[in-house]
């Protein structure tokens, strides 16, 4: 039993990690908390739903369509809502992001209605047994896909020129600009990647928990945000580990303590972690120079 709880915790955590990567990358590069990030998951889910269920497209059409659409949504959101506020206070950007979040939720509400839609798994995968424990195929696929994506992302950031530009902008935007890096393009790219990852997370989530509604993205968004902070916001390995840890804690506390209290337990662990280590597990220490 424990093994299957643990595995489903890891797979839930893998989804959180994919979302948390988006949070953390955007935070690292644009220095903003993109509160609307969770809602991009919901957009991804609805697009996949429309393509596969309503229009009867194949699974691959749905998946690729959803990723492309969300990538564009991410770029457009950044251009329209966040770019005009590059020099504004953090709080102004945060409130704008909240506005974007309301916008996406209410647009979905308007188009799809408030009822949750039943989302059949896009690809049916047989149950896998490990010893005595049985694990749904989706769990294994989720974990596998997440690992591949994270490896790909790490390679992209550490090996490609655009990745190097991203690192440079996150280190020091002004200096990067002076070195001839196109900061606007780099920020756009970050939003594009983050939103694409959110779309994948949305599809994976809807395959495991086959329901989608206008507010589907909210709670996973918050959890992923917490995972990003837990791991040290701005840190990519931190987001991954944070996501997986939060997923495991949530699933195990649901299984062994109380399903009603699992959120509270997750949040208490976050607070305790930050009290002991104020910048998260892998966060950088910043001390103001006097």
């Amino acid at each position: 039993m424990f093994i299957s709880y643990l595995l489903s915790g890891v797979s839930l955590g893998a989804i959180y990690a994919l979302i948390a990567l988006g949070y953390t990358m955007v935070y690292g590069i644009a220095k903003m908390l993109n509160f609307a990030h969770g809602d991009v998951i919901m957009v991804g889910g609805y697009v996949a739903f429309t393509l596969s269920v309503t229009l009867g497209g194949s699974a691959w059409v749905a998946i690729i369509g959803s990723i492309v659409f969300c990538t564009l949504v991410g770029i457009v959101i950044e251009k329209v809502a966040y770019k005009p506020l590059r020099s504004a206070s953090k709080l102004a950007v945060l409130i704008t992001a909240i506005g974007v979040s309301y916008f996406l939720q209410n647009l979905a509400l308007l188009i799809f209605g408030s009822n949750s839609r039943n989302f059949q798994s896009l690809v049916s995968i047989p149950v896998i047994s490990i010893g005595q424990a049985t694990v749904p195929g989706e769990t294994i696929v989720t974990i596998g896909v997440s690992i591949l994506i994270v490896i790909g992302l790490m390679l992209f950031i550490n090996k490609s020129k655009s990745g190097a530009a991203m690192l440079a902008v996150s280190e020091d935007r002004g200096a990067a600009e002076l070195m001839g890096i196109n900061v606007n393009k780099t920020i756009s790219l970050t939003f594009a990647i983050g939103s694409g990852l959110a779309a994948i997370a949305g599809i994976l989530m809807c395959s495991q928990y086959p329901m989608i509604g206008p507010y589907t993205g909210q709670m996973p968004g918050i959890k992923a945000f917490i995972a990003a902070v837990f791991g040290g916001i701005g840190s990519i390995p931190g987001a991954m580990i944070g996501g997986v840890v939060i997923g495991i804690i949530e699933n195990l506390s649901k299984a062994y303590i109380s399903s009603q209290l699992s959120d509270a337990i997750t949040f208490v662990i976050l607070i305790l972690t930050l009290v002991i280590k104020p910048t998260g597990l892998f966060g950088k220490k910043l001390k103001e120079k006097v």
């Binding site: 005009p84 102004a92 918050i222 902070v229 509270a264 104020p278």
Partner: protein, 369 residues
């Protein structure tokens, strides 16, 4: 130093004079009084419907919430995303108090003020409880912890089981109370886990709510305009300089966390004594964020702006009711556009020009030349 003076003569002090802030504060306090007075009149003459009347008391507790949150965000300069959690504590503690004592303390004139005090103090204790461990945190990390804290409070409230019978109170956490322990004939359920709190006497009305708004404003405005307020704002403006000036950062942060939570608790007590049902899930981070939006659009540290923004933004979705299902979408767009217009450098520049054009004063002419 052309004319060196060793002392300022009394004459200099008199001619310079010290600005009195009392007038400003009275205007700020009069805004909600006049607004609610006019609304009440319009309602009683039948100009505004009773549906609108039902919004007035909630508007009062949102104003208390926004003003108290502005103390943390605008005056102390720390972002909080869990303000609704403190409101939740106040609503439940004050509500349960009135529920239990409604037979022993029959006069609402005694019961309600007591409920306000107890609910407010309970929230303040929570404010300090979360305040102490997070003193080391600031900025985004503080924001996420306050968000988590608000969700924890909500979650805990959803897991409390409380009943009373002839033997007294029975409490259980996370699991229902064992029926064998209860005297079924006299049993009254107060809280049943995720179910809403019901049966709190409806002690609040618009007058009471307005009195609480005024008290909140007096306390917070006077605090800001005092030695304590200056100390708090100095921490916001430059923590290191504040320390060098001997300001005890810990003490003033805790005063703010406690006081801000106290008034959020008061707003909660008001809510649970006005609404027929009190549900913990209503006090989630969405509510906290809604109030933060009021504060930011009203102006950080500006209480008058906060009151006006709360009234306008709270009324906006109601005014947009004609648009029906589009109203929240419009609200979202208005929010984004307002933030961009208020904070984008180009728009700020255009606004300045427009101002200069409208009030063609000397300064404007100089800028034009």
């Amino acid at each position: 130093m052309k004319n060196k003076k060793t002392d300022v003569s009394a004459g200099v002090l008199k001619t310079i004079g010290f600005k009195s802030t009392a007038g400003n504060k009275i205007i700020t306090i009069l805004i909600p009084i006049l607004f609610f007075g006019i609304c009440q009149m319009l309602v009683s003459y039948g100009v505004l419907g009773s549906l609108f009347e039902g919004l007035l008391v909630p508007l009062c507790f949102y104003i208390i919430m926004a003003v108290s949150l502005n103390l943390t965000v605008g005056i102390l300069g720390e972002l909080s995303l869990g303000h609704a959690g403190f409101m939740c504590v106040g609503a439940y503690v004050g509500g349960i108090f009135s529920f239990i004592t409604q037979e022993t303390i029959t006069s609402p004139w005694i019961r309600f003020p007591l409920a306000i005090l107890i609910g407010g103090l309970a929230a303040a204790i929570f404010g300090l409880l979360i305040g102490i461990p997070i003193l080391r945190l600031s900025g985004d990390y503080l924001a996420i912890v306050t968000l988590a804290f608000g969700e924890i409070v909500k979650n805990i409230m959803q897991n409390i089981y409380l009943a009373k019978d002839i033997n007294g109170l029975h409490f259980s956490f996370a699991t229902a109370i064992d029926p064998a322990k209860l005297d079924m004939a006299t049993k009254v359920d107060i809280l049943k886990g995720p179910m809403a709190l019901k049966g709190v006497p409806r002690d609040a009305n618009l007058i009471v709510a307005l009195v609480l708004v005024v008290i909140t404003l007096i306390v917070i405005l006077n605090l800001i305009d005092s030695r304590t307020g200056r100390a708090i704002m100095s921490i916001r403006d430059n923590r290191i300089a504040a320390e060098s000036s001997g300001i005890n950062i810990t003490k003033y942060k805790l005063i703010v966390f406690g006081l801000s939570a106290f008034f959020a608790g008061v707003a909660g007590v008001l809510a649970s004594h006005y609404n027929m049902v009190t549900e913990a899930k209503k006090f989630d981070y969405n509510t906290s964020i809604l109030i933060l939006v009021f504060v930011v659009l009203g102006g950080l540290g500006k209480m008058r702006g906060t009151i006006i923004a709360t009234i306008l933004l709270y009324a906006l979705p109601e005014l947009l009711r004609g648009l029906q299902s589009y109203r929240m979408l419009v609200y979202a767009i208005v929010l984004i556009v307002m933030m961009i217009v208020n904070n984008n450098p180009w728009f700020i520049e255009q606004r300045k020009r427009l101002k200069a054009f409208l009030f063609k004063n000397k300064k404007a002419e100089m800028e034009e030349n």
